[in-house]
Amino acid sequence: MTHSKILLHDMCLRDGMHPKRHQITVEQMRAIAKGLDEAGVPLIEVTHGDGLGGESVNYGFPLHSDEEYLRAVIDTVKRAKVSALLLPGIGTVEHLRMAKDLGVSTIRVATHCTEADVSEQHITLARQLGLDTVGFLMMAHMLDPEKLVQQALLMESYGANCIYCTDSAGYMLPDDVTARLSLLRERLKPDTELGFHGHHNLAMGIANSIAAVQAGANRIDGSAAGLGAGAGNTPLEVFNAVCHRMGIETGVDVMKLADVAEDLVTPIMDMPIRIDRDSLVLGYAGVYSSFLLFAKRAAAKYGVSSADILIEMGRMKTVGGQEDMIEDVAINMARAKN
């Protein structure tokens, strides 16, 4: 039941904040948003990498507030709509109301894949406020399809009109995506939309997104030039080109989006977004992609291996948000060495 028309959702101004240590300037955001808008990208996510209210010692303080970034992008775009991410436990309903007042169209409420019931408060409110409301189940590789459906049904019951299967670790292979999305399609209401958010740690971003579309997803996340946590998100300009070849309609201009990736996003990268050894470990061991730079920094500070830190984080079954454990693990490893 492949959708012939899908919605592309760009992540480079939100997930892309991770490799930029949340230091993207307002001017850069405006320029990139303008380019994405002109290329026809219909939905652009903007906030701190860890969503509304993510500014913290634990995740990093951004150059500007969520409010400033959102206002700048919303003022810039002519056709595109803007979304904001919210992780319950980090952001609150006050943040959600602020984003709504600024004019976001879409709120994505993200929980670890087993913890959907912490999203009730936020999903309920977002729906009451008339927002396009998405339930975003992170680290979905850690849960089998049947249990993932149970969690998705909870979010749907709170009012989410779209459910995402989110491969935060870039661990999934196309068959994993197919298994989850097809069961979600079978068991959720027919008018509940489905989405997939990939990370490119095993170079599966495009293949997984295509598998998702073929299993019934109609919203696909990606990031111009792949700017995102770990080895980045699904590179959106590449995915868009593949869709055009396959006859999947996106409404996005192939070359204009390629120009945004090449001329606007790539130049602001602090390092190449590629599958280095640590990103490979993320994908191979199933570890939250945003841990990457924290592990590299802790490794340098304590004289231990960043890959070993990430492997240990995986062994500990850490989930998204547990960045604080990275320094703790590095100190333990340094102590064990001496």
Binding site: V57, H112, E115, E120, Q322, M325, D328
Partner: protein
Amino acid sequence: MSKKINAALIGSGNIGTDLMFKALRSHEIHPSWMVGIDAASDGLAKARQHGLKTTDQGIDGLLPHLASDDIRIAFDATSAYVHPENARKLREAGVVVIDLTPAAIGPFCVPPVNLAEHAGKREMNVNMVTCGGQATIPMVAAVSRVQPVDYAEIVATVASRSAGPGTRKNIDEFTRTTARGIETVGGAKRGKAIIILNPAEPPLIMRDTVHCLTADEPNRDQIIDSVQTMIKEVQRYVPGYSLKNGPVFDGNRVSIYLEVEGLGDYLPKYAGNLDIMTAAALRTAEMLAPEIAAGHYARGDAQ
């Protein structure tokens, strides 16, 4: 030892039941009633086994017995939604309420930091902040008593199994109330709280990380001493409270890595987050007990 003060436990869930087991060992408090709303609850059955009187009619099932059974303290382990009504009824009856919900009607109490301040004030309602607050505010205070703290942030990671439906339905209440406690009790100019639920099996023991940003360069030796002293204070009522790493100093950042293992009375040991609440609540009651016994909270005196 003077006569024990009779106490009622409102709420027969995990928290109320764990608190009962701790109170049964107390030299100052005698748990005499447990109040539930579900006749089949395990908590009420456990309470009866241990000689407590019980009702499954909620707070109204207890009210007629307050005077005859000389109940002077009630622990409310229901929910933020139910607490205000319970608090009103108990106050009218002159019962001191220790609130374990995030309703936070009364002033915050974090025993090793400000228990002594509550003594002699005759407050009829004190609030225990949140589990994350009990675990981390002592550390914020340990830094802020050495030098000014501009900002303190805590990350509490708890096992999914130890986060009940009340917490899940209103997780914002946790972040809000904890952040407020970090400021008003911890002494940070600005506070922030983050909570993470981790479903790993076997369940992980509660972890808490405290980051403080000091106004000036941190005085390392004094902060290390102060943190060590405070750890021992908390260990007096939560023996499984431990410093795993730190304090780590990085510019003006002071980071403290904690683990909180419970006693395993009713809740499993990994649920240090719930254990530290029940232990702190009991310790608060034990501090108030001699004052109540001495007649400082005479019945009917309540404002």
